[in-house]
Symmetry: C2
Subunit: 267 residues, 2 copies
């Protein structure tokens, strides 16, 4: 497995990249810039952390020009409005968003650009119908669509397990294996994964040898020695109508009763 | 400020680097390897996280050959012994360590090597007398000696504020400004800093314009606009004899009564 970093541009290799964690909601936010003194972009800022974000922007001698949410967050209040009011930055979400705070709406195939950096927009619904992922060279910001060894719940905010399946297998899993995965949440102390790892070891995503690819809602972590075994049909996401409450854990309340198994060929 | 990454070797740019967080003790641990299928090294593993570490080592198709502690941790039990027993890896600490679990003791100037990667050993006492830092190309693992916008307490385990001063200013702060700082702890959701940032914005480390450099045990975060002001005498670390208990926060119980101010020229 060869890393993409070897083919990064000089700017990408030197970019400023900061991952911050809000322990109250288990949320990761991200600050990106191509250089000190230049433009910056923030992904999934948490309202209660806005002061620290702005302090860090000042300390790094940056100018915040865009603030982006991957989707409407149910487990914390977004910092987009506060950041906009305090910096006049552009607030960005996908075109499916119904949030008033948004000043720029993007669609699949669009680009979100700041000085020296570019995010490619992927529409990845399933956790919610306004879920987008953003690809930056060697890394992808997956919101709650794809978590580290997990996936977002699909039982509220117009969630849809079949859309989730399509987003994960026909978009995210088509990215190069070495692509770094930076999600909006983690509850177990992981900070990053790769597409290749989660293709094999995400207990909700089972990739067998050959053409059989399955989704599993519950599963065990598996060791490398199990890779070669054909992963057969396992339970898939269910769309629960029994829980409409907001859970701190996006994995928390998915109904175990329903399943989907769809064979797909991944190159 | 130009990033070091532009001058990294191909191996360093492609290396596997994982930061894991133990929320119980607020500890960061690190997994390093130069390639999938190769040798790996772990820094500051927490006993309760050993299962996950070994699982990740298997998932990434690695072979753990060395486990390293920056110092004797008072806030959690080290995973070195458990990792040694389960993988036969070499356990590494500095020569000042009195821990029985250590099978390889290193000194200032030594190198800790695994396939394709090299850690340069820096003796950085002050938090404890067995505190070491490890330099890997563009990043340094500072244990509790230098934290993000903080420094480790110096009031137990043979801590010494003057040694801490010397370690920080005459060793760590001599590294290039763009060197990434990966500490053993954070309690506020930060994951990484740089030497340059903490030189200016660490409230316990004040660097003025010109030759005056001061240490502050307590202080406010400062914005970029304040950089140009001369930072004058501020209180420095105190060595408290009143508290010998173990605090979850290494910043927690430093005595405010004593101070040190030492002018130093940093190039």
């Amino acid at each position: 497995m060869v890393g993409l970093r070897g083919v990064l541009t000089d700017t990408e290799a030197r970019m400023i990249f900061r991952q911050l964690f809000d322990s109250t909601s288990g949320t990761y936010s991200y600050l990106l810039a191509s250089r000190h003194g230049g433009e910056a972009l923030i992904i999934d800022p948490v309202l209660e952390r806005v002061d620290r974000w702005l302090q860090l922007v000042r300390e790094l001698d940056l100018r915040l020009v865009k603030a982006v949410d991957t989707h409407l967050h149910a487990d914390h209040v977004t910092g987009l409005g506060e950041l906009r009011d305090r910096t006049r930055c552009i607030t960005v979400m996908g075109e499916h968003s119904r949030a008033d705070v948004v000043s720029m709406r993007v669609a699949e195939g669009d680009r979100i650009e700041i000085e020296g950096l570019r995010l490619d927009v992927l529409y990845t619904p399933g956790h919610t119908d306004d879920s987008y992922s953003f690809l930056l060279a060697d890394r992808v910001f997956t919101g709650d669509t794809l978590l580290i060894r997990g996936t977002g719940r699909t039982d509220f905010q117009n969630g849809d397990p079949r859309a989730q399946y399509d987003s994960i297998f026909n978009k995210l899993m088509k990215l190069p294996d070495e692509t770094l995965v930076y999600p909006a949440h983690d509850y177990k102390g992981e900070t990053v994964s790769t597409i290749g790892e989660d293709k094999f070891f995400n207990p909700r995503i089972k990739v067998g040898c050959g053409s059989q690819i399955c989704l599993s809602r519950r599963g065990r972590h598996r060791g490398l020695e199990e890779r070669r075994r054909t992963a057969r049909a396992l339970r898939a996401w269910g769309s629960s109508s029994s829980s409409t409450g907001i859970s701190r854990d996006p994995l928390g309340s998915i109904d175990a009763g329903k399943s989907v198994q769809i064979p797909i060929q991944i190159a």
